[in-house]
Amino acid sequence: MGDIPGDLKFLSSHEWVRVEPDGSVTIGISDHAQDLLGDIVFVELPDIGQSIDAETDAAIVESVKAASDVYSPISGEVTEINSILEDQPEIINSSPYEDGWFYKMMPSDLSETDNLLSPEDYSEVCED
Protein backbone atom coordinates (compact mmCIF):
# COMPACT_ATOMS: atom_id res chain seq x y z
CA MET A 1 0.00 0.00 0.00
CA GLY A 2 1.28 3.47 -0.92
CA ASP A 3 2.11 6.28 1.45
CA ILE A 4 -0.78 8.35 2.78
CA PRO A 5 -0.65 12.04 1.74
CA GLY A 6 0.24 14.10 4.80
CA ASP A 7 -2.50 16.72 4.33
CA LEU A 8 -5.36 14.27 4.95
CA LYS A 9 -7.35 13.55 8.12
CA PHE A 10 -9.29 10.34 8.67
CA LEU A 11 -12.24 8.67 10.32
CA SER A 12 -11.46 5.20 11.67
CA SER A 13 -14.18 4.00 9.24
CA HIS A 14 -11.69 4.78 6.42
CA GLU A 15 -12.94 8.12 5.01
CA TRP A 16 -10.49 10.98 4.42
CA VAL A 17 -10.94 14.74 4.24
CA ARG A 18 -8.60 17.33 2.73
CA VAL A 19 -8.93 21.05 3.49
CA GLU A 20 -8.40 22.96 0.23
CA PRO A 21 -6.72 26.41 0.02
CA ASP A 22 -10.13 28.08 -0.62
CA GLY A 23 -11.55 26.69 2.64
CA SER A 24 -13.65 23.97 1.00
CA VAL A 25 -13.05 20.30 1.82
CA THR A 26 -12.74 17.20 -0.38
CA ILE A 27 -13.81 13.76 0.85
CA GLY A 28 -12.99 10.22 -0.26
CA ILE A 29 -12.13 6.76 1.02
CA SER A 30 -8.69 5.46 1.90
CA ASP A 31 -6.38 3.20 -0.05
CA HIS A 32 -6.85 0.61 2.70
CA ALA A 33 -10.64 0.80 2.26
CA GLN A 34 -10.54 0.32 -1.51
CA ASP A 35 -8.16 -2.61 -1.01
CA LEU A 36 -10.53 -4.23 1.51
CA LEU A 37 -13.51 -3.75 -0.80
CA GLY A 38 -11.82 -5.02 -3.95
CA ASP A 39 -13.10 -4.11 -7.42
CA ILE A 40 -15.54 -1.21 -6.98
CA VAL A 41 -18.50 -1.34 -9.37
CA PHE A 42 -21.01 1.23 -8.06
CA VAL A 43 -21.19 4.47 -6.11
CA GLU A 44 -24.13 6.55 -4.99
CA LEU A 45 -23.06 10.14 -4.31
CA PRO A 46 -24.89 12.80 -2.28
CA ASP A 47 -26.88 15.58 -3.96
CA ILE A 48 -25.35 19.00 -4.52
CA GLY A 49 -26.74 21.35 -1.88
CA GLN A 50 -27.37 18.52 0.57
CA SER A 51 -26.41 19.20 4.19
CA ILE A 52 -24.57 16.36 5.87
CA ASP A 53 -23.66 15.99 9.54
CA ALA A 54 -20.30 14.67 10.66
CA GLU A 55 -20.13 10.86 10.93
CA THR A 56 -23.47 10.29 9.17
CA ASP A 57 -23.84 8.40 5.89
CA ALA A 58 -23.11 10.51 2.84
CA ALA A 59 -22.56 7.98 0.05
CA ILE A 60 -22.65 4.29 -0.81
CA VAL A 61 -19.80 2.34 -2.35
CA GLU A 62 -20.23 -1.20 -3.65
CA SER A 63 -17.62 -3.67 -4.79
CA VAL A 64 -18.43 -6.97 -6.49
CA LYS A 65 -18.49 -8.55 -3.03
CA ALA A 66 -20.24 -6.05 -0.75
CA ALA A 67 -21.98 -2.72 -0.19
CA SER A 68 -20.60 -0.21 2.28
CA ASP A 69 -21.74 3.14 3.68
CA VAL A 70 -19.43 6.13 3.41
CA TYR A 71 -19.59 8.51 6.38
CA SER A 72 -18.81 12.20 6.20
CA PRO A 73 -15.74 13.07 8.30
CA ILE A 74 -17.12 16.56 9.03
CA SER A 75 -20.37 18.55 8.66
CA GLY A 76 -21.18 20.85 5.76
CA GLU A 77 -23.08 21.47 2.53
CA VAL A 78 -22.20 19.54 -0.64
CA THR A 79 -20.91 21.85 -3.38
CA GLU A 80 -19.60 19.37 -5.96
CA ILE A 81 -19.71 15.63 -6.64
CA ASN A 82 -17.27 13.54 -8.66
CA SER A 83 -19.85 12.44 -11.26
CA ILE A 84 -17.27 10.56 -13.33
CA LEU A 85 -17.30 7.87 -10.61
CA GLU A 86 -20.85 6.94 -11.63
CA ASP A 87 -19.54 5.63 -14.96
CA GLN A 88 -16.03 4.72 -13.85
CA PRO A 89 -16.14 3.71 -10.17
CA GLU A 90 -12.92 1.73 -10.64
CA ILE A 91 -11.07 5.08 -10.43
CA ILE A 92 -11.55 4.75 -6.65
CA ASN A 93 -9.41 1.59 -6.76
CA SER A 94 -6.66 3.14 -8.86
CA SER A 95 -6.55 6.64 -7.31
CA PRO A 96 -8.27 6.74 -3.93
CA TYR A 97 -6.61 9.97 -2.75
CA GLU A 98 -6.70 11.99 -6.00
CA ASP A 99 -8.98 11.20 -8.97
CA GLY A 100 -11.22 8.96 -6.85
CA TRP A 101 -12.54 11.70 -4.53
CA PHE A 102 -16.30 11.47 -3.77
CA TYR A 103 -17.59 14.97 -3.03
CA LYS A 104 -16.64 18.50 -1.91
CA MET A 105 -18.31 20.52 0.85
CA MET A 106 -18.33 23.95 2.39
CA PRO A 107 -17.65 22.94 5.99
CA SER A 108 -19.89 24.31 8.72
CA ASP A 109 -17.15 24.11 11.35
CA LEU A 110 -13.59 23.42 10.25
CA SER A 111 -12.53 22.77 13.84
CA GLU A 112 -14.29 19.39 13.51
CA THR A 113 -11.15 18.23 11.71
CA ASP A 114 -9.37 18.42 15.08
CA ASN A 115 -11.32 15.33 16.14
CA LEU A 116 -10.04 13.28 13.18
CA LEU A 117 -7.10 10.92 12.90
CA SER A 118 -3.74 11.98 11.50
CA PRO A 119 -2.25 9.79 8.73
CA GLU A 120 0.01 8.16 11.36
CA ASP A 121 -2.86 7.41 13.77
CA TYR A 122 -5.02 6.13 10.92
CA SER A 123 -2.23 3.79 9.76
CA GLU A 124 -2.17 2.29 13.23
CA VAL A 125 -5.94 1.73 13.09
CA CYS A 126 -5.47 -0.20 9.83
CA GLU A 127 -2.83 -2.44 11.36
CA ASP A 128 -5.09 -3.53 14.24
Binding site: G38, K65, A67
Partner: protein, 356 residues
Protein backbone atom coordinates in the same frame (compact mmCIF):
# COMPACT_ATOMS: atom_id res chain seq x y z
CA UNK B 1 -12.46 -19.05 18.41
CA UNK B 2 -11.96 -22.25 16.44
CA UNK B 3 -8.71 -22.27 14.49
CA UNK B 4 -9.66 -22.35 10.78
CA UNK B 5 -8.53 -25.34 8.71
CA UNK B 6 -6.00 -24.95 5.94
CA UNK B 7 -5.89 -26.74 2.61
CA UNK B 8 -2.68 -28.32 1.32
CA UNK B 9 -2.21 -25.18 -0.80
CA UNK B 10 -2.41 -22.67 2.06
CA UNK B 11 1.22 -21.51 1.78
CA UNK B 12 0.94 -21.39 -2.01
CA UNK B 13 -1.97 -18.95 -1.66
CA UNK B 14 -0.07 -16.82 0.85
CA UNK B 15 3.00 -16.77 -1.40
CA UNK B 16 0.84 -15.61 -4.32
CA UNK B 17 -0.37 -12.70 -2.15
CA UNK B 18 -3.94 -13.95 -1.85
CA UNK B 19 -6.40 -12.19 0.40
CA UNK B 20 -7.56 -14.96 2.74
CA UNK B 21 -10.99 -15.23 4.38
CA UNK B 22 -12.58 -17.59 6.85
CA UNK B 23 -15.13 -19.56 4.84
CA UNK B 24 -17.15 -22.13 6.83
CA UNK B 25 -14.17 -22.66 9.14
CA UNK B 26 -11.62 -22.94 6.33
CA UNK B 27 -9.11 -20.22 5.56
CA UNK B 28 -9.52 -19.79 1.80
CA UNK B 29 -8.35 -17.31 -0.87
CA UNK B 30 -11.06 -14.81 -1.82
CA UNK B 31 -8.94 -13.00 -4.44
CA UNK B 32 -5.31 -13.02 -5.55
CA UNK B 33 -5.33 -9.76 -7.54
CA UNK B 34 -8.57 -8.37 -8.92
CA UNK B 35 -11.77 -10.40 -8.74
CA UNK B 36 -12.87 -9.00 -12.11
CA UNK B 37 -9.57 -9.87 -13.80
CA UNK B 38 -9.73 -13.38 -12.33
CA UNK B 39 -13.29 -13.74 -13.63
CA UNK B 40 -12.28 -12.70 -17.16
CA UNK B 41 -9.29 -15.09 -17.08
CA UNK B 42 -11.69 -18.02 -16.64
CA UNK B 43 -14.06 -16.79 -19.37
CA UNK B 44 -11.23 -16.04 -21.82
CA UNK B 45 -8.37 -18.48 -21.12
CA UNK B 46 -8.13 -20.76 -18.08
CA UNK B 47 -8.14 -20.47 -14.30
CA UNK B 48 -7.31 -22.84 -11.47
CA UNK B 49 -9.22 -23.01 -8.18
CA UNK B 50 -8.35 -24.68 -4.89
CA UNK B 51 -11.69 -26.02 -3.66
CA UNK B 52 -10.24 -28.51 -1.20
CA UNK B 53 -12.64 -27.25 1.48
CA UNK B 54 -15.41 -29.23 -0.24
CA UNK B 55 -16.29 -32.55 1.41
CA UNK B 56 -15.22 -35.80 -0.27
CA UNK B 57 -16.69 -39.19 0.67
CA UNK B 58 -15.90 -42.72 -0.56
CA UNK B 59 -17.90 -45.90 0.00
CA UNK B 60 -16.89 -49.48 0.71
CA UNK B 61 -18.84 -52.72 0.42
CA UNK B 62 -22.55 -53.43 0.67
CA UNK B 63 -25.31 -52.43 -1.73
CA UNK B 64 -24.06 -48.98 -2.76
CA UNK B 65 -26.56 -48.61 -5.62
CA UNK B 66 -29.43 -49.37 -3.23
CA UNK B 67 -28.02 -46.83 -0.79
CA UNK B 68 -27.80 -44.02 -3.36
CA UNK B 69 -31.23 -44.91 -4.76
CA UNK B 70 -32.58 -44.27 -1.28
CA UNK B 71 -30.81 -41.05 -0.31
CA UNK B 72 -30.39 -39.30 -3.69
CA UNK B 73 -33.33 -37.68 -5.50
CA UNK B 74 -31.70 -38.17 -8.89
CA UNK B 75 -31.52 -41.82 -10.02
CA UNK B 76 -28.06 -43.29 -9.55
CA UNK B 77 -28.89 -45.95 -12.17
CA UNK B 78 -28.18 -43.26 -14.80
CA UNK B 79 -24.46 -43.64 -14.08
CA UNK B 80 -24.21 -47.07 -12.44
CA UNK B 81 -22.82 -48.64 -15.62
CA UNK B 82 -20.94 -45.62 -16.85
CA UNK B 83 -17.88 -43.56 -15.95
CA UNK B 84 -19.80 -40.39 -15.26
CA UNK B 85 -20.81 -37.70 -12.80
CA UNK B 86 -24.41 -37.05 -11.71
CA UNK B 87 -25.65 -33.88 -9.99
CA UNK B 88 -28.58 -33.94 -7.61
CA UNK B 89 -29.91 -33.20 -4.16
CA UNK B 90 -30.17 -34.90 -0.81
CA UNK B 91 -33.65 -34.44 0.70
CA UNK B 92 -35.11 -34.92 4.15
CA UNK B 93 -38.47 -36.66 4.66
CA UNK B 94 -40.27 -33.32 4.15
CA UNK B 95 -38.67 -32.82 0.74
CA UNK B 96 -36.43 -30.05 2.11
CA UNK B 97 -33.00 -29.80 0.51
CA UNK B 98 -30.23 -30.96 2.86
CA UNK B 99 -27.55 -30.29 0.27
CA UNK B 100 -26.68 -30.46 -3.40
CA UNK B 101 -23.88 -32.74 -4.48
CA UNK B 102 -22.16 -34.61 -7.28
CA UNK B 103 -21.74 -38.37 -7.28
CA UNK B 104 -18.99 -39.71 -9.50
CA UNK B 105 -18.91 -43.31 -10.72
CA UNK B 106 -15.92 -44.79 -12.52
CA UNK B 107 -13.97 -48.05 -12.47
CA UNK B 108 -16.72 -49.61 -10.29
CA UNK B 109 -16.25 -47.02 -7.53
CA UNK B 110 -18.44 -44.18 -6.30
CA UNK B 111 -17.10 -40.91 -4.89
CA UNK B 112 -19.28 -38.08 -3.62
CA UNK B 113 -18.47 -34.38 -3.32
CA UNK B 114 -20.74 -32.11 -1.31
CA UNK B 115 -20.58 -28.68 0.29
CA UNK B 116 -18.19 -27.60 2.99
CA UNK B 117 -20.69 -26.08 5.44
CA UNK B 118 -22.83 -29.27 5.47
CA UNK B 119 -19.93 -31.69 5.97
CA UNK B 120 -20.85 -33.02 9.42
CA UNK B 121 -24.60 -33.05 8.78
CA UNK B 122 -24.12 -35.05 5.58
CA UNK B 123 -21.60 -37.48 7.05
CA UNK B 124 -24.06 -38.31 9.85
CA UNK B 125 -26.89 -38.65 7.33
CA UNK B 126 -24.90 -40.99 5.06
CA UNK B 127 -23.77 -43.17 7.98
CA UNK B 128 -27.30 -43.37 9.39
CA UNK B 129 -28.75 -44.63 6.10
CA UNK B 130 -25.73 -46.63 4.92
CA UNK B 131 -26.18 -49.10 7.77
CA UNK B 132 -29.30 -50.57 6.13
CA UNK B 133 -27.32 -51.33 2.98
CA UNK B 134 -24.14 -52.64 4.64
CA UNK B 135 -22.17 -49.73 3.16
CA UNK B 136 -19.18 -48.15 4.91
CA UNK B 137 -18.86 -44.37 4.46
CA UNK B 138 -15.36 -42.91 4.51
CA UNK B 139 -14.74 -39.17 4.86
CA UNK B 140 -11.65 -38.36 2.79
CA UNK B 141 -9.99 -35.52 4.68
CA UNK B 142 -6.80 -36.61 2.89
CA UNK B 143 -8.25 -35.55 -0.48
CA UNK B 144 -8.08 -32.11 -2.03
CA UNK B 145 -9.83 -30.70 -5.09
CA UNK B 146 -8.48 -28.57 -7.92
CA UNK B 147 -10.76 -27.16 -10.60
CA UNK B 148 -9.20 -26.03 -13.89
CA UNK B 149 -11.80 -24.16 -15.92
CA UNK B 150 -12.03 -22.05 -19.05
CA UNK B 151 -12.07 -22.30 -22.84
CA UNK B 152 -8.34 -23.18 -22.82
CA UNK B 153 -8.50 -25.42 -19.73
CA UNK B 154 -8.31 -28.73 -21.61
CA UNK B 155 -5.48 -27.48 -23.81
CA UNK B 156 -3.45 -26.55 -20.73
CA UNK B 157 -4.29 -29.80 -18.94
CA UNK B 158 -3.23 -31.87 -21.95
CA UNK B 159 0.13 -30.11 -21.78
CA UNK B 160 0.59 -31.45 -18.23
CA UNK B 161 2.34 -34.77 -18.76
CA UNK B 162 1.30 -36.17 -15.38
CA UNK B 163 -2.34 -36.43 -16.33
CA UNK B 164 -2.77 -35.79 -20.06
CA UNK B 165 -3.10 -39.46 -21.09
CA UNK B 166 -5.64 -40.07 -18.31
CA UNK B 167 -8.03 -37.29 -19.24
CA UNK B 168 -7.70 -36.83 -22.99
CA UNK B 169 -10.76 -38.98 -23.78
CA UNK B 170 -13.10 -37.66 -21.10
CA UNK B 171 -16.42 -36.38 -22.43
CA UNK B 172 -18.34 -33.63 -20.54
CA UNK B 173 -19.44 -35.14 -17.19
CA UNK B 174 -17.15 -38.10 -17.84
CA UNK B 175 -14.73 -39.18 -15.11
CA UNK B 176 -12.11 -41.80 -14.38
CA UNK B 177 -10.11 -43.12 -11.46
CA UNK B 178 -6.40 -43.79 -11.52
CA UNK B 179 -5.79 -45.45 -8.16
CA UNK B 180 -7.28 -42.99 -5.66
CA UNK B 181 -7.07 -40.05 -8.06
CA UNK B 182 -10.35 -39.01 -9.66
CA UNK B 183 -10.40 -36.85 -12.81
CA UNK B 184 -13.76 -35.48 -13.95
CA UNK B 185 -14.88 -33.16 -16.73
CA UNK B 186 -17.12 -31.17 -14.42
CA UNK B 187 -17.10 -27.71 -12.88
CA UNK B 188 -19.01 -24.82 -11.37
CA UNK B 189 -18.27 -21.98 -13.78
CA UNK B 190 -20.24 -22.72 -16.96
CA UNK B 191 -16.94 -23.36 -18.74
CA UNK B 192 -15.24 -26.49 -20.02
CA UNK B 193 -12.60 -27.97 -17.77
CA UNK B 194 -11.75 -30.56 -15.17
CA UNK B 195 -12.06 -31.18 -11.48
CA UNK B 196 -9.25 -33.20 -9.94
CA UNK B 197 -10.10 -34.93 -6.69
CA UNK B 198 -6.72 -36.19 -5.63
CA UNK B 199 -4.65 -36.88 -2.51
CA UNK B 200 -3.35 -33.77 -0.75
CA UNK B 201 0.25 -34.90 -1.22
CA UNK B 202 0.06 -34.42 -5.01
CA UNK B 203 -1.98 -31.21 -4.98
CA UNK B 204 0.88 -28.72 -4.71
CA UNK B 205 2.74 -30.30 -7.61
CA UNK B 206 -0.34 -30.29 -9.88
CA UNK B 207 -1.14 -26.68 -8.87
CA UNK B 208 2.38 -25.53 -9.77
CA UNK B 209 2.33 -27.40 -13.09
CA UNK B 210 -1.00 -25.77 -13.99
CA UNK B 211 0.33 -22.30 -13.10
CA UNK B 212 3.41 -23.01 -15.24
CA UNK B 213 1.07 -23.79 -18.16
CA UNK B 214 -0.46 -20.33 -17.72
CA UNK B 215 -3.56 -21.05 -15.63
CA UNK B 216 -4.53 -18.02 -13.52
CA UNK B 217 -5.19 -18.69 -9.80
CA UNK B 218 -8.82 -17.84 -9.02
CA UNK B 219 -10.29 -17.09 -5.59
CA UNK B 220 -13.70 -17.83 -4.13
CA UNK B 221 -14.86 -14.31 -5.07
CA UNK B 222 -14.72 -14.96 -8.81
CA UNK B 223 -15.97 -18.51 -8.25
CA UNK B 224 -19.20 -16.91 -7.03
CA UNK B 225 -19.60 -14.47 -9.95
CA UNK B 226 -18.79 -17.24 -12.44
CA UNK B 227 -21.33 -19.69 -11.03
CA UNK B 228 -23.99 -17.00 -10.84
CA UNK B 229 -23.50 -16.05 -14.51
CA UNK B 230 -23.91 -19.75 -15.31
CA UNK B 231 -27.15 -19.84 -13.28
CA UNK B 232 -25.85 -22.45 -10.84
CA UNK B 233 -27.44 -22.47 -7.39
CA UNK B 234 -25.36 -22.03 -4.24
CA UNK B 235 -26.54 -24.08 -1.28
CA UNK B 236 -27.31 -21.85 1.71
CA UNK B 237 -28.10 -18.85 -0.55
CA UNK B 238 -30.42 -20.09 -3.26
CA UNK B 239 -31.84 -23.08 -1.44
CA UNK B 240 -31.88 -24.33 2.13
CA UNK B 241 -33.56 -27.06 4.15
CA UNK B 242 -36.73 -24.92 4.00
CA UNK B 243 -36.99 -25.22 0.21
CA UNK B 244 -38.05 -28.11 -2.00
CA UNK B 245 -36.43 -28.69 -5.40
CA UNK B 246 -39.42 -27.47 -7.43
CA UNK B 247 -39.10 -23.96 -6.00
CA UNK B 248 -35.33 -24.11 -6.47
CA UNK B 249 -35.05 -24.60 -10.23
CA UNK B 250 -34.04 -28.23 -9.60
CA UNK B 251 -37.05 -30.19 -10.90
CA UNK B 252 -34.70 -31.60 -13.54
CA UNK B 253 -32.70 -33.39 -10.84
CA UNK B 254 -35.75 -35.24 -9.46
CA UNK B 255 -36.04 -38.59 -11.19
CA UNK B 256 -39.29 -40.51 -10.58
CA UNK B 257 -39.27 -42.52 -13.82
CA UNK B 258 -38.60 -45.71 -11.86
CA UNK B 259 -41.90 -45.80 -9.99
CA UNK B 260 -40.71 -48.64 -7.76
CA UNK B 261 -37.85 -46.49 -6.41
CA UNK B 262 -38.59 -45.05 -2.98
CA UNK B 263 -36.17 -42.23 -2.14
CA UNK B 264 -36.20 -40.07 0.96
CA UNK B 265 -38.43 -37.04 0.39
CA UNK B 266 -40.34 -38.60 -2.54
CA UNK B 267 -43.70 -38.75 -0.74
CA UNK B 268 -43.44 -35.11 0.29
CA UNK B 269 -42.55 -34.05 -3.26
CA UNK B 270 -45.56 -35.93 -4.68
CA UNK B 271 -47.79 -33.66 -2.58
CA UNK B 272 -46.23 -30.41 -3.82
CA UNK B 273 -48.56 -28.42 -6.08
CA UNK B 274 -46.16 -27.31 -8.77
CA UNK B 275 -48.78 -24.99 -10.29
CA UNK B 276 -48.60 -22.65 -7.34
CA UNK B 277 -45.01 -23.14 -6.17
CA UNK B 278 -42.65 -20.24 -6.24
CA UNK B 279 -39.72 -20.59 -8.62
CA UNK B 280 -36.15 -19.40 -9.08
CA UNK B 281 -35.60 -17.03 -11.95
CA UNK B 282 -32.76 -14.87 -13.23
CA UNK B 283 -32.90 -11.12 -12.58
CA UNK B 284 -31.11 -8.44 -14.56
CA UNK B 285 -30.99 -4.97 -13.00
CA UNK B 286 -31.80 -2.33 -15.63
CA UNK B 287 -30.90 0.67 -13.44
CA UNK B 288 -27.59 1.50 -11.75
CA UNK B 289 -26.89 -0.49 -8.60
CA UNK B 290 -26.02 -3.98 -7.39
CA UNK B 291 -28.51 -6.71 -6.46
CA UNK B 292 -27.83 -8.31 -3.06
CA UNK B 293 -29.41 -11.22 -1.15
CA UNK B 294 -32.56 -10.23 0.73
CA UNK B 295 -33.70 -7.38 -1.53
CA UNK B 296 -37.47 -7.50 -2.11
CA UNK B 297 -39.01 -7.83 -5.55
CA UNK B 298 -42.47 -7.06 -6.87
CA UNK B 299 -44.09 -7.98 -10.17
CA UNK B 300 -47.57 -7.77 -11.71
CA UNK B 301 -48.93 -10.81 -9.94
CA UNK B 302 -46.84 -11.19 -6.81
CA UNK B 303 -43.56 -10.72 -5.08
CA UNK B 304 -40.21 -12.34 -4.47
CA UNK B 305 -36.77 -11.99 -2.95
CA UNK B 306 -33.21 -11.85 -4.24
CA UNK B 307 -31.28 -14.98 -3.15
CA UNK B 308 -27.91 -14.32 -4.77
CA UNK B 309 -26.90 -11.04 -6.32
CA UNK B 310 -23.69 -9.58 -7.63
CA UNK B 311 -22.06 -7.58 -10.39
CA UNK B 312 -21.54 -9.63 -13.55
CA UNK B 313 -18.13 -8.82 -15.05
CA UNK B 314 -19.15 -10.41 -18.37
CA UNK B 315 -22.47 -8.56 -18.75
CA UNK B 316 -21.15 -5.41 -17.00
CA UNK B 317 -24.45 -5.20 -15.12
CA UNK B 318 -25.87 -6.53 -11.90
CA UNK B 319 -27.51 -9.97 -12.00
CA UNK B 320 -29.12 -12.20 -9.42
CA UNK B 321 -31.22 -15.23 -8.73
CA UNK B 322 -34.60 -14.62 -7.13
CA UNK B 323 -37.38 -16.79 -5.75
CA UNK B 324 -40.65 -15.31 -7.00
CA UNK B 325 -44.36 -16.02 -7.18
CA UNK B 326 -45.57 -17.44 -10.49
CA UNK B 327 -47.05 -15.11 -13.13
CA UNK B 328 -44.04 -12.79 -13.10
CA UNK B 329 -43.93 -11.79 -16.78
CA UNK B 330 -40.79 -10.10 -18.14
CA UNK B 331 -40.48 -7.07 -15.91
CA UNK B 332 -40.60 -6.14 -12.27
CA UNK B 333 -39.07 -3.91 -9.63
CA UNK B 334 -36.57 -4.39 -6.83
CA UNK B 335 -36.34 -2.24 -3.71
CA UNK B 336 -32.79 -1.05 -3.05
CA UNK B 337 -32.40 1.31 -0.09
CA UNK B 338 -36.06 2.42 -0.33
CA UNK B 339 -35.91 3.08 -4.05
CA UNK B 340 -37.81 0.98 -6.61
CA UNK B 341 -35.49 0.06 -9.49
CA UNK B 342 -36.38 -1.74 -12.73
CA UNK B 343 -35.51 -5.38 -13.37
CA UNK B 344 -36.00 -7.85 -16.21
CA UNK B 345 -36.81 -11.48 -15.47
CA UNK B 346 -34.62 -13.72 -17.60
CA UNK B 347 -33.39 -17.31 -17.77
CA UNK B 348 -31.15 -18.08 -14.77
CA UNK B 349 -28.52 -19.17 -17.27
CA UNK B 350 -27.19 -15.71 -18.07
CA UNK B 351 -24.41 -17.27 -20.13
CA UNK B 352 -24.25 -20.49 -22.15
CA UNK B 353 -20.84 -22.08 -22.72
CA UNK B 354 -19.39 -18.87 -21.36
CA UNK B 355 -21.10 -16.71 -24.00
CA UNK B 356 -23.87 -14.10 -23.74
Amino acid sequence: MIQPKNTALHSSHINLGAKMVNFAQWEMPITYSSLIEEHHAVRETAGIFDVSHMAVFDFNGGDQIGFFEKIFANDIKKIANENKALYGVLLNEDGGILDDLIIYHANDKFRLVSNCSTREQNFDWYKKHAVDFGVEVVERMDMGILAIQGPEAMKKILAMNEISSLVENLEPFGCMFSDEHLYARTGYTGEDGLELIVPNDVIVNLWEKALAEGCTPIGLGARDTLRLEAGLNLYGNDMTINNHPYESNLAWTIDMKDEARDFIGKNALLKVDKEISQKIIGVLLKDRGVLRPGYEITHEQGKGIILSGTYSPTLEASIGLARVDQGHGDKGQVMIRNKALNIDFVSPRFLRQGKI
